[in-house]
């Protein structure tokens, strides 16, 4: 599973020298600076970094929701008709005007997939996310954790080549977060498609991923790449009890600590300016 394997297949996502600048009143702001990376097909790839390091911007570029200023981005085209990527957004992104079922079926309906197929696929993922009973409910009737489940079901039901997840669990309480992480792994392990996951939680990154990229504070650069050696399928809770887990979390934290501090200083400068 390491990059050094003989005859590596062409990566699913490859980025070379990618940069993104924003014009601001104070001049040009560099959000992402010269990032290069390759993500092989089927990898659970996580980006950790302090807030404001440009990780969300990077994900939005991958999603096609934002443009970049320099560099190259190559995403291997999907083999079949399936869409290239689907994003699970941070915060509330499921449509309040659609039922749980219609939210989960959104992507398939846009593509005019047959009703029978929609019924099968959506039914499956609602079942996997424990939402079957709530298929006809509207989002305002659901808790925060259930809404994020709908968001995950919506992305999985769309059957894309790549999943992009932008801190999907950051708004949840600790118990719900652990529960949903475990559920996400269970659903993902059925198909093992490529995932790019963003988080500011080192615990979450280590629990879920195959490989972790640590980003530096503004401008966002690659600070470190870390392989996560734990086996699949994984039990998040059991994993956390292991000493190697603690060691890995600690070593990533050490990489991250300076960056978090630097991000804090940058914030304080902004307040004083």
């Amino acid at each position: 599973m390491s990059d050094a394997a003989p005859q590596p297949a062409a990566p699913k996502i490859s980025i070379e020298g990618l940069s993104k600048h924003f014009p601001t009143k104070a001049g040009r702001l560099t959000a992402i600076d010269n990032i290069s990376l390759a993500i092989p097909e089927g990898q659970f790839f996580t980006i950790v970094g302090p807030s404001g390091c440009g990780k969300t911007t990077l994900l939005r570029i991958l999603a096609g929701l934002e443009t970049f200023s320099a560099g190259r981005l190559k995403i291997a085209p999907p083999v079949s008709e399936r869409p290239e990527n689907s994003m699970v957004f941070q915060g509330e992104s499921i449509f309040p005007w659609m039922t749980v079922w219609d939210n989960a079926a959104y992507g398939l309906k846009l593509r005019h997939v047959s009703a029978a197929r929609i019924k099968e696929v959506v039914g499956h993922f609602l079942e996997r996310t424990g939402l079957t009973k709530f298929a006809d409910a509207y989002p305002h009737q659901l808790s925060g954790g259930m809404k994020q489940r709908v968001s995950i079901a919506r992305a999985f039901a769309n059957d894309p080549d790549i999943f992009l997840m932008d801190e999907p669990f950051s708004a949840l309480d600790e118990q719900n977060k652990t529960l949903l992480q475990q559920e996400l792994l269970r659903i993902w392990e059925e198909t093992r498609k490529t995932v790019v996951f963003i988080t500011h939680s080192v615990d979450e990154a280590v629990s879920l991923s195959d490989r972790i990229m640590v980003m530096s504070a503004q401008p966002g650069r690659v600070k470190a790449m870390i392989d996560v050696p734990f086996e699949r399928p994984r039990d998040v809770l059991a994993l956390r009890a292991r000493p190697e887990y603690g060691q890995l979390v600690f070593s990533i934290w050490e990489q991250l600590r300076d960056e978090v501090q630097r991000a804090r200083q940058l914030d304080e400068q902004k307040v004083h300016a």
Partner: protein, 267 residues
């Protein structure tokens, strides 16, 4: 110490607060009508201007059995319906599209800002000139009155949709047409319906005015004609029916809301 006191208060309360409110809400207009009847009969109030409710009811029955009332009501309803449809439907389509597309907004918004402040009632002569004395002038006036609040609210409704929903639409590769139907229109629906409610109110005002000036039928005409022949009871009948029309349309809109935005928490 506090417990027995609370128990005593509860036992004194015969009706729940909401039932009591409901009773008062029904009783107060009835009391007013009775007072009016009394004062009018005794002669404390000039019966030429304020005829007793019983006399108005008598006239109502007469106009109703002769069919005059229903003919006029039906004519007004038809004008309202067509005016409403011709005003609201294009306003929703255009308003939502303006909310979605900046260019369209830049082109049309100043036109709306310029035309909106004109009192629509001041347009009656112009509309009579353009559309003639027939149905078209009344329908056009109602349509114009409904158009503005609906288009303004539709645009504002789309602009108020959280950008994350549009991001989802783009990420799921929705076409513009699909964005319109799955995100912009439903997302703006609460605001659109608020605009429709305003539009209906304005429509009722305008139909009354239009029928008083350039018509030979309709509730507005009936009221105006009652003034011309000094048949005050008939005038009141017209006023009451228009009021009921307004009340009925409010009920209808509530139903429409339940149907069009089932996803909102009921307040």
């Amino acid at each position: 110490m506090a417990q027995p006191r609370v128990a005593e208060e509860v036992s004194k309360q015969v009706l729940s607060a909401s039932n009591r409110d409901r009773l008062i809400m029904v009783a107060s207009p009835i009391a007013l009508l009775l007072l009016w009847e009394l004062v009018s009969r005794v002669g404390l109030m000039d019966a030429r201007f304020f005829p007793a409710p019983s006399r108005i009811a008598e006239t109502f029955a007469k106009l109703s059995s002769s069919g005059e009332l229903w003919t006029n009501l039906w004519v007004s309803l038809k004008r309202l319906f067509w005016g409403f449809l011709l005003g609201a439907v294009p306003a929703v389509m255009l308003g939502v599209a303006m909310g979605m597309f900046r260019l369209l907004r830049v082109v049309i918004d100043p036109l709306i800002s310029a035309l909106y402040p004109i009192p629509k009632s001041a347009l009656v002569p112009l509309f009579l000139l353009i559309f003639g004395l027939g149905e078209a002038s009344k329908i056009a006036l109602v349509a114009t009155g409904v158009f503005f609040p609906v288009i303004i609210n539709s645009m504002a409704g789309v602009r108020g949709i959280a950008t994350i929903y549009l991001d989802v639409g783009h990420n799921f590769r929705a076409s513009r047409w699909q964005l319109f139907w799955t995100i912009a229109l439903p997302g703006a629906m609460p605001m659109i319906l608020a605009g429709v409610r305003l539009g209906v109110g304005i429509g009722l005002v305008l139909i009354a005015i239009a029928e008083m000036i350039g018509a030979k039928s309709g509730l507005g005409y009936m009221i105006w004609n009652a003034w011309e022949i000094l048949f005050v009871e008939k005038m009141y009948v017209g006023l009451i029916v228009i009021a009921m029309l307004g009340f009925g349309s409010t009920l209808l809109l509530k139903e429409l809301e339940r149907f069009a935005i089932p996803w909102q928490a009921h307040r």
